[in-house]
């Protein structure tokens, strides 16, 4: 079947805004994404090398209550995101395994840069205490200076580096 067009951006933004407002009204917090990745990583480290996890002050705080680090608001929210994205992809006929890239570059190159992009992004998100969702978007909705500064820093930096990486995209 022909894949359907994306939603109008202002309508999609309004929908996203109501989701964020629901998180604030129901749970007193914003949305998040990189935090969920962190909890997944902590759970993996805990499963692979429990001794290392318990010795390190960074990891041990997530095991203090004796429960899985995945039994957590953000981890569950990220699990829900995968479900929600899947439902959206299914109704708009966009479910398909593929590597999305410019035809001018190889799959290998795309995946290599995707990997390092992920390393950089989540490292930066841990440092800044949140990513585009948790720090920038949610932060702006509660008027936090951190939210606005994160937004400007992420987008400003991406514009700055865009020239160097233009062959990946255009």
């Amino acid at each position: 079947m022909e894949k359907r067009k994306y939603m109008n951006p202002y309508l999609a933004g309004t929908l996203l805004g109501f989701v964020l407002l629901s998180a604030m009204f129901l749970s007193g917090r914003g949305l998040g994404a990189s935090g969920g990745i962190k909890y997944a990583m902590v759970a993996i480290v805990g499963a692979v090398d429990k001794d290392h996890a318990m010795e390190s002050p960074y990891y041990s705080k997530y095991f203090e209550n004796g429960e899985s680090p995945l039994k957590n608001w953000l981890a569950l929210e990220v699990f829900g995101m995968v479900l929600g994205g899947f439902i959206s992809g299914a109704i708009s006929h966009r479910l398909k395994f593929k590597v999305e890239k410019s035809p001018k570059i190889t799959t290998r190159k795309r995946l290599l840069f995707a990997f390092f992009g992920g390393v950089f992004f989540v490292y930066g998100a841990q440092l800044a205490r949140g990513c585009t969702s948790g720090a920038a978007l949610s932060g702006m909705a509660v008027l936090s200076v951190a939210g606005f500064v994160t937004m400007v820093a992420i987008f400003g930096s991406a514009y700055l580096f865009a020239w160097f990486f233009r062959s990946l995209w255009i």
């Binding site: 992920g118 991406a158 995209w169």
Partner: protein, 200 residues
């Protein structure tokens, strides 16, 4: 009166169930917006597709105005809603590192998860890199505490920092957003790439 889970002291299972449903809405909205496409997201930085800006600012303003209205009518206690603390050094340096990751990988964590959910293999590799990035942060965190904690300013609010009322700041933000929407429409015409936009 909200936030419901705090004021009504919801049990943990109910909080986690709410988290799951919020996540479903979040993932659905991102995918419908087309944030599951790295080439669409990257368009923001080359001008041929500015969906990111439109969705991002619309969402922030809807949540901001919505929460202010709920607070005004006594339905939401904003003092109980989390305000991100501002650690100036970590926020700026972290933000710059994130921007570099964005242009290399084509995703941010949220949009990467959205793309993974419809089967994008590049997004799966991006998130694998993300796990490695989180691991590297955990392992290096003892050595970067001066950056991580430097110039702590507390849960600082931008309207208070600028010395204007919340309403005035919200109005300024809406005017700025409308201006940016207009600019982004111009950019899409000026930097149009029909060969890319027809594929995404």
């Amino acid at each position: 009166m909200g936030p419901l889970s705090i004021i009504s002291e919801f049990p943990e299972w109910l909080n986690l169930l709410i988290a799951l449903f919020i996540g479903v809405g979040f993932g659905f909205a991102l995918e419908q917006a087309g944030f599951s496409s790295s080439r669409r997201l990257a368009g923001m930085f080359y001008g041929y597709d500015t969906t990111v800006l439109k969705v991002f600012f619309t969402a922030a303003i809807v949540a901001l105005v919505g929460s202010q209205l709920l607070s005004f009518f006594g339905l939401l206690n904003l003092k109980l809603v989390y305000v991100n603390p501002y650690y100036m050094n970590a926020t700026i340096i972290g933000g710059v590192i994130m921007g570099a990751g964005f242009i290399m990988g084509g995703y941010c964590p949220g949009t990467g998860i959205s793309a993974l959910s419809i089967g994008k293999i590049d997004a799966m590799i991006f998130l694998l890199g993300g796990l490695v990035g989180a691991f590297l942060f955990a392992e290096t965190s003892p050595y970067i505490q001066t950056i991580f904690l430097g110039n702590y300013k507390g849960a600082m609010r931008i309207d208070e920092w600028m010395g204007v009322s919340t309403g005035v700041f919200t109005f300024i933000l809406i005017v700025a957003a409308v201006f940016l929407f207009w600019l982004s429409e111009l950019a899409e015409k000026r930097f149009s790439r029909p060969e890319i936009t027809s594929e995404i």
